[in-house]
Symmetry: C2
Subunit: 349 residues, 2 copies
């Protein structure tokens, strides 16, 4: 199934055409506190929409928030012919997509990602869901948005770490695609951000992702490539949650890409230059996730509980080189520990 | 999408072939207290399955139970390659199907309906879900079971009202199909139940249903025919829930079929003989749902909140005659009230 993705900096007009074309009997918009204040006023087409507001941040992507959203959808008399517009980052689009796809067994939703991470990660590909019991995206569904409207007009006001978070997923796509794409992204200068360049890089990045997703919408095979960096990255995120903290998803992915590049180097002899160039870029722009060898067993246990695991085995996508990936690599504990040792060494922790 | 339905009285062997063929890393079985005690021991192929037990009854088909099932699935280290067998009536298959289709964004499930209603209503057609906020099946998803195994071996130990409950859905299918099928079911004798006859009637009934579902799996059009009796029936069920009671689903459908047959007679001139024959059969076997004219506004409000409603309008499937249905009939309040008056009159309340 092809996802309808619209690239447009005239978000209001584009969104309005979908709203008018859909002949909906009610339009709701899901925002977080930030997008309510900063983004919603920029979209006059939503001035009559019923507003559902949630608290920002991944730790609110939970069952309690979901239950409240379902309740509010009911309170505004939403029917199967109503529309939910998800206006926000990954928390809003993941939770809102799941809320819409399960409300009365499914109503239309449109995603308007307001963060780079939202655009590149959560808004395209049909994955929706919430965290549950301390595990990331443990409950959810595959559900396609009616449309996704991608723009860069909301990014300049974002904190820089939000941009970096999204950029990590773009790095992943580039690594899956070609050495040239990878090198191009490593040149990106976060001190002097070029938003026009970023838009073109984003468009290219989403084309790589869509090409993979369309071949395998429910993640039976090749789509697992998109899990590059995520087996370890999710374990870092889950560890942070267990410790009562939270880290930005893209930061966890960036660190996960480094650890999994170490694994690629150990197991598949991927070039060490690429590993060191990546590690330097990540260290400079993302810092490092602090771990000691005392955390290895906890991290390994979290990796075993990952959705990608089979029979409790740890499963990673790895690279022979940029653009040449293999899915379903089973990783043993010793290799994970060795990779975490090297990660700590090259990241200087 | 064609649902894989197996008609077999050798349930253990049939189920076992799916379990062995699926190469699952964990098999879980969802039961209620009754099926745990009475049915599970009849299926040796599940002797090593992880058992998840819930309390019986539609009022346990709620978010709290669902949350516990998700948690228990996690506790037995279920992965995307695990299987959930739903062994029970509609509560188990509806809730279990939704739990499985949302756990890690979806794992395989097999439905083994143990009640006639489960076989005829909930186990075929891909509708899963839970009640929420006092509304029936308000949260859910369309998700196809890997297989549905239909048999009559579990029915003789059921209370007779469970059989009657399922039989009401068969009545509905017959009314949608032909006058001959309708007349045949009205001859059925609940005093001396012929289980062989029932199996053949059930098979025929499910063929009618599957034929409709396959043409329209997500209920955009013709599948709405299957809502016959349900607009009013659900309102009766929801009213009972609001009053802290519960009625068997099929009983509510039987009463709903009578009210909607009155509407068919008023609005589409359907034959009065069919109406009176139906009403007599329902009164004799199901009794009547007690309402007074003081309840009309509440019932109408509940009908407006039904999933089938559009723009707050009340939407029913109606019959010109048996086998000749029309979907999407918008019903005004006066006609509902008139039909409820006649329902009370012919049911003697």
């Amino acid at each position: 199934m092809t996802q309808n993705v619209q690239y447009s900096n005239n978000v209001d007009a584009t969104l309005n055409s979908f709203i008018e074309g859909g002949n909906y009997n009610a339009v709701m918009v899901l925002v977080d506190t930030n997008t309510h204040e900063l983004v919603l006023p920029l979209l006059p087409c939503l001035s009559n929409a019923y507003i559902i507001e949630i608290a920002p941040g991944d730790d609110n992507k939970n069952l309690e928030t979901l239950t409240r959203v379902w309740r509010e959808m009911e309170q505004c008399d939403a029917t199967r012919h109503s529309l939910l517009v998800n206006l926000g980052g990954g928390t809003v689009t993941d939770l809102g997509g799941f809320a819409a796809s399960t409300f009365k067994r499914g109503i239309d939703f449109i995603n308007v990602p307001t963060t780079l991470l939202g655009a590149v990660d959560a808004a395209v590909g049909g994955k929706t869901g919430i965290n549950f019991n301390g595990l990331k995206n443990e409950i959810g569904a595959f559900a396609q948005a009616k449309a996704v409207i991608v723009s860069t007009i909301f990014f300049p006001t974002l904190p820089k770490q939000e941009l970096k978070s999204g950029f990590a997923e773009m790095l992943k796509h580039a690594m899956l695609h070609s050495h040239k794409s990878f090198e191009q992204l490593l040149q990106f200068d976060f001190q002097n951000i070029d938003y026009d360049l970023l838009l073109s890089l984003l468009h290219e990045s989403l084309k790589i992702k869509q090409h993979i997703v369309e071949q395998d919408p429910t993640e039976q095979g090749i789509r697992k490539a998109l899990n590059l960096g995520h087996t370890v990255g999710h374990a870092f995120e889950s560890k942070a949650l267990c410790d009562g903290k939270s880290v930005l998803h893209g930061y966890a992915v960036a660190w996960g890409l480094v650890v999994e590049s170490v694994l690629s180097h150990i197991l598949l002899k991927s070039p060490s230059d690429d590993l060191y160039n990546l590690a330097n870029f990540v260290k400079e722009n993302y810092g490092a996730f602090y771990i000691t060898c005392d955390h290895y067993d906890q991290l390994i246990d979290l990796m075993r509980h990952d959705k990608k695991s089979l029979n409790g085995e740890i499963n990673c996508t790895l690279l022979k080189s940029c653009g040449d990936f293999t899915i379903n690599n089973k990783i043993n504990e010793d290799d994970i520990k060795a990779a975490l040792d090297i990660y700590r060494d090259i990241m200087g922790i």
